[in-house]
């Protein structure tokens, strides 16, 4: 079967988007009050389809190389495929764990499933874009979807507040990002990432480029909740529904990191010294503030929100590394972080339920006796976040800091690793709380019954964290191959509108 490049390059996105539309359209057809689970299964099917599409892309990319489409504004390469897979996996887990989440509470769960798919489409689009315009569009698609999802616990004041905070601040940051794009265009005369570098070399206004970099970093920094643009994170994560947090704390961040990697390493390699110094500081600040903020939290979701800030900091440390190291380390970290974080929130989804009472750490006392499996899984994910060996988090941290060390950033490494030591404190307190002996607890009012799809998803995530921790080889190889793409200078990169559509032979 021969597909046109335009179809093939964005195949996963198409699949997701179409499924989303179908779900959206099917939603009104289902009787109000009846279960929306079938729509969830449909969404899941669509996601699996997009995984299949991605794998298909991979086989093609392996045999004939990178796919370009739409006048070179998007491309499917190993880099995008890696992130596609990460995003798709996160979506699968989110869908599985939230199949039963809305049962009995929300009559519009179908929209939720559709929004997840649309958001994923946007994120995937971000990773495959090689044109700032497309990046922006992808970013907005994913953002708008997540804005809505953040407020999906209808009638809960906190949820609405989370949505408005996320929305206002997100738009605010988007404006910065957009301004950065404008200045890039001004400095280089192009918005194609691949041509930025050459445009920059000929630029008469290098200062504009610097400001542009700063603006882009600010915009993306918001999305990945890097300090000092992290302020929204705790509030939004606290208010948003747990499965949504699981999604929005991982997949959009993965996409945003992918974009940042592409723009910085692909578009501004010559300014590496400047932006790596900037990211050095942001990374150190993020991990420190994230960990310090989490230290005193009693609300578990809020604590994990701060922890995700810290993880963004660790991940940003990878950007200081040399291109090859940095990209593969960041890619691996993204995958590992996504796995453990989505896992942790999947467990929380099961325990907290829709109403999310009893989010306090003390409410988890004795959880190990009531739900040994859930507690063990939670502990496992938390240990992975600490970076205990034979979990994904360990290798992730190792690669990141090994990259930073290789680039000579010894002190960043020291700060990062000491931070990871401080971080143990709050993770362990949570684990200790779960494993402490206390018979009375608010959670006992709501007995937890884990449905099999959710159990399956948890099992898959745990397996992923374990495999990434013991045999990181294959994922790492994928990440390393992925790292080749963004840095490849395309010779005679076509200006966006002049480029001719290429057809796969």
């Amino acid at each position: 079967m021969q597909l046109s490049a335009n179809v093939l390059t964005l195949l996963p996105e198409y699949v997701l988007c179409l499924t989303g539309i179908i779900v959206m359209l099917a939603e009104p057809l289902i009787k109000p009050g009846s279960s929306r689970k079938p729509l969830g299964w449909l969404a899941l099917l669509g996601t699996l389809g997009s995984v299949a599409a991605t794998v298909y892309q991979l086989s093609i990319v392996r045999s004939i190389g990178t796919l370009h489409a739409f006048s070179g504004t998007v491309q499917a390469d190993r880099f995008s495929i890696f992130f596609h897979l990460v995003i798709a996996c996160v979506v699968i887990v989110t869908l599985l764990s939230s199949l039963d989440y809305f049962e009995g509470y929300a009559s519009h769960a179908g929209e939720y499933f559709a929004l997840v798919l649309f958001g994923a489409t946007g994120m995937m689009l971000m990773t495959s874009s090689t044109e700032l315009l497309m990046v922006f569009i992808g970013l907005e698609i994913s953002s708008i979807a997540t804005y809505i999802m953040a407020g999906f616990r209808k009638g809960q004041a906190a949820s609405a507040e989370a949505a408005i905070k996320y929305f206002l601040l997100g738009s605010f940051a988007t404006a910065f990002f957009l301004y950065g794009i404008a200045l890039t265009f001004g400095a280089t005369g192009t918005t194609s990432i691949a041509s930025i570098a050459s445009g920059l070399a000929a630029s008469q206004t290098p200062l504009l480029a610097i400001v542009a970099i700063a603006m882009i970093v600010i915009g993306i920094g918001f999305k990945v909740s890097a300090a000092p643009f992290h302020v929204w994170t705790p509030d939004v994560y606290q208010g948003a529904p747990s499965p949504v947090v699981g999604l929005m704390s991982t997949a959009p961040k993965a996409a945003a990191f992918a974009v940042l990697l592409r723009i910085l390493f692909g578009g501004y390699p010559v300014e590496h010294a400047k932006w790596s110094a900037l990211l050095w500081i942001i990374a150190a600040l993020s991990m420190t503030i994230g960990n310090l903020g989490a230290l005193l939290q009693r609300d578990v979701k809020r604590m994990l929100a701060y922890s995700s800030i810290a993880h963004a900091g660790y991940l940003l440390a990878a950007f200081t590394a040399l291109p090859q190291d940095g990209i593969s380390a960041a890619a691996f970290y993204t995958a590992a972080y996504s796995a453990m974080n989505v896992g942790a929130f999947a467990v929380l989804t099961q325990i907290l339920g829709f109403r999310e009472h009893a989010r306090n750490r003390d409410d988890f006392a004795g959880m190990a006796q009531r739900h040994p499996a859930l507690a063990a899984l939670m502990a496992f994910f938390l240990l992975s976040m600490i970076g205990i060996p034979f979990t994904a988090g360990f290798f992730a941290k190792f690669y990141v800091f090994s990259g930073a060390m290789h680039a000579g950033y010894v002190w960043l490494t020291v700060i990062g690793l000491i931070n990871s030591g401080v971080a143990c404190f709050y993770y362990l307190r949570f684990i200790a709380a779960m494993y402490s002996v206390r018979e009375t607890s608010a959670q006992e009012v709501h007995p937890v019954r884990v449905a099999w799809p959710a159990g399956l998803s948890l099992g898959l995530v745990a397996a992923a964290v374990l495999v990434l921790g013991i045999l990181p080889g294959s994922a790492l190889r994928l990440a390393q191959h992925a790292s080749v793409q963004p840095t490849q200078q395309e010779t005679a990169a076509p200006a966006v509108l002049r480029a001719k559509t290429k057809i796969v032979r």
Binding site: I164, P206, I210, A214, I218, V231, D235, K274, I289
Partner: protein, 677 residues
């Protein structure tokens, strides 16, 4: 004799220990005693065999080396035993006296709880003591050294339910450890300088370097002396021995009189090659010995507990032996060691018999007039008292006199020699005094005990097994033996044998001045030849035989004066001495043992404990070590709360943070760009 049989000598008692220690609780008492005796008797026979070999050939040296015990690159220590004439004497004393005391114990302890335990410990002691005397290197000597300390600890604390006994055991071990500390350091120095701990290697190296005088050898010798002073209860480490009397009396006889406490003397003699090279160390040995002798004797004069008198007397006699070593009269020291083993074991066993007769009473003020009631004990003890008092022809006279004479003739430092001789002489008088005091107070005069009361006390004792504060624990025994009674023959037989030895034991060392040939000294010549003959034999010629006779006469006279004084105050006019001096400051000082224990407690123990409680525990541990963690945690917490404050919950302030962050980044980036371009 095949040297490999040497292994058997210590190993058999150890086997006895293991058997009694593991199975003893389930065995019948005769079986326990039988095993213990058997495993002591065979080594004694082996030693006798050694002696017969020696006597038939005229001399004996023997050694046996096993595989390596400790090996590190460049250094190794073997299990190695060696027998020379010094060892032979020690072996004879240890196995002989040890065996006799085992027999005695079978009677004495017959009704005790923990019979098996007692014999197991006793055998353990025999094992270590034999290792000590047989060892052919410092480390193996140290094994025995520590081991006898352990056995002593266990036996002193035999009545462990009594706090005083448990305390005494602990004190003995810890004070001995102070000595061991010196011994260990000495060994480290020896290793550093000789690379070996074998006696043969070390002594050969010293002998091969006549130029070595003083210097590191003094350091080694003085450290060894610390060890010896700990084990042999010399100043300033003597404090444990009087307390050690908490143990059963046979233990006091065997360990704290005849054998273990003489290990220090043995060690100094064994390492005399090193001491000989250090006049300073020798002088210190002599001074410590003399000082201890008179110091302990003065305390012994005013004690009321019969065993404590003997204990101080032991300390004092050990001082004599050190004095002998200090003036390089090693063979005299060993001679006194041997005779002392006989008469002091005898005295202790006899005292045990007295205590046995009085159902556990040890206070001499509650004795008296026992001569008729326990005649065998009386007569044997009399032999012991005369022997220790130094009245010829009993054993003590010859050995003590030899030491005094040698001290007087000490050539290396004549002034010191004369001074120490005077001290020694005075001590001899005091010894005679307090021993006869003991004798009179125990056996002569009126009966000050209340026989009926003894019985009652007995009943009380049985009601509440081990009352705190009661002096001796073995009074829980002897049911049905109310009233004063002579001990059974199983106890009396060893007494008689030892009495005989106390009488004739000195005759093998009669000096030439008194018409003898001093067999003993010649016998030890192979060991001490280098010293005795090269240096001191010359002395002996200088100070003529007539001088020696005069000195002997003086010391006999002094001993007789001591006796006479004791006779006046304790037989003729009892009570007069106490009436006159009972309230004097001097008496109180001596009666309280010069407050040495209290002084140690106040100057060493308490400052250490209080200092560590306040400084180490209070400050270092809780402020520095734990506080540092606490402070860093508090600082982190402070920053954390600041971070929380950033999170006001207000969207506008969040936007403010964003804007400020953006502004800073923009300014910084622009500035850096402008700076570069």
């Amino acid at each position: 004799m095949n040297p490999n049989y040497l292994w058997l000598i210590p190993v058999l008692p150890f086997a006895g220990f293991l058997i009694n220690g593991t199975l003893g609780r389930k065995l019948a008492r005769p079986a326990v005693a039988g095993i213990a005796l058997l495993f002591t008797a065979i080594p004694a026979l082996l030693v006798a065999w050694l002696w017969s070999t020696m006597l038939s050939t005229g001399a004996l040296t023997m050694s046996v080396t096993s595989r390596s015990w400790i090996t590190v690159p460049g250094f190794h220590v073997n299990f190695a035993f060696a027998v020379d004439h010094l060892t032979l004497i020690m072996l004879a004393v240890v196995t002989g006296v040890g065996f006799l005391i085992h027999i005695y114990s079978a009677g004495y302890m017959a009704h005790e709880e923990g019979y098996w335990r007692f014999f197991a410990y006793l055998n353990l002691f025999m094992f270590f003591m034999l290792v000590l005397v047989l060892a052919a290197n410092f480390l193996l000597l140290f094994v025995g050294w520590e081991g006898v300390g352990l056995a002593s600890y266990l036996l002193i604390g035999f009545y462990f339910t009594k706090d005083s006994a448990a305390n005494a055991g602990k004190k003995a071990f810890v004070v001995n450890r102070i000595g061991d500390f010196g011994f260990l350091l000495a060994m480290f120095l020896i290793i550093a300088h000789f690379g070996s701990l074998s006696f043969g290697d070390v002594f050969a190296a010293v002998n091969a370097h006549p130029a070595w005088q003083g210097g590191f050898l003094t350091a080694i010798a003085l450290l060894l002396l610390v060890g010896a002073a700990g084990k042999s209860a010399q100043l300033p480490l003597y404090v444990w021995l009087p307390d050690a009397m908490e143990g059963p009396t046979p233990v006091s006889a065997l360990i704290h009189a005849a054998t273990m406490v003489t290990a220090g003397v043995y060690m100094v003699c064994r390492t005399h090659v090193i001491f000989d090279r250090s006049p300073l160390a020798l002088s210190v040995v002599a001074i410590i010995g003399a000082a201890t002798a008179i110091f302990a004797a003065t305390i012994g004069m005013v004690q009321h507990d019969i065993k404590r008198v003997l204990a101080y007397s032991t300390v004092s006699q050990l001082g004599y032996m050190f004095l002998g070593c200090g003036v390089a009269a090693y063979s005299a020291a060993v001679f006194h060691l041997m005779t002392h083993a006989f008469f002091k074991a005898l005295l202790f066993l006899a005292a045990g018999s007295v205590i046995h007769a009085l159902s556990g009473e040890q206070d001499m003020r509650l004795m008296g007039g026992l001569k008729k009631r326990i005649p065998v004990t009386y007569w044997t003890m009399t032999a012991g008292v005369i022997a220790i008092a130094g009245i010829p022809p009993l054993a003590g006279f010859f050995s003590k006199d030899e030491i005094l004479y040698r001290t007087f003739a000490f050539e290396a430092n004549p002034m010191l020699g004369k001074l120490l001789w005077a001290v020694g002489l005075l001590t001899a008088g005091l010894t005679s005094f307090y021993m006869f005091r003991l004798w009179y107070k125990t056996f002569a005069g009126e009966e000050r005990f209340d026989e009926a009361h003894l019985g009652q006390a007995h009943a009380v004792v049985h009601a509440d097994e081990h009352p705190a504060g009661h002096d001796e624990g073995q009074d829980t025994s002897h049911q049905g033996h109310h009233g004063v009674h002579e001990s059974p023959w199983i106890m009396l037989a060893p007494l008689c044998i030892l009495a005989l030895l106390s009488i004739i034991g000195g005759w093998i060392g009669i000096p030439q001045a008194l018409g003898g040939s001093n067999h003993f000294e010649h016998f030890l010549d192979p060991v001490f030849a280098a010293t005795t003959h090269a240096e001191n034999a010359v002395n002996a010629d200088q100070v003529s035989h007539s001088m020696e006779l005069v000195l002997a006469a003086v010391s006999v006279l002094v001993a007789l004066i001591g006796w006479f004084v004791a006779r006046i105050f304790y037989l003729k006019k009892p009570g007069t001495l106490g009436a006159r001096f009972g309230n004097s400051a001097l008496y109180k000082l001596v009666a309280n043992k010069y407050w040495v224990d209290e002084a140690y407690d106040a100057t060493i123990v308490q400052p250490t404990v209080i200092g560590s409680r306040i400084l180490l525990w209070g400050f270092v541990e809780n402020v520095l070590v734990n506080g540092s963690g606490f402070v860093s945690a508090a600082i982190t917490r402070l920053f954390a709360s600041v971070t929380r404050k950033m999170q006001s919950g207000n969207i506008r302030s969040y936007a403010g943070w964003l804007a400020v962050g953006a502004a800073i980044i923009l300014i910084a980036m622009t500035a850096s760009a402008l700076h570069i371009h």
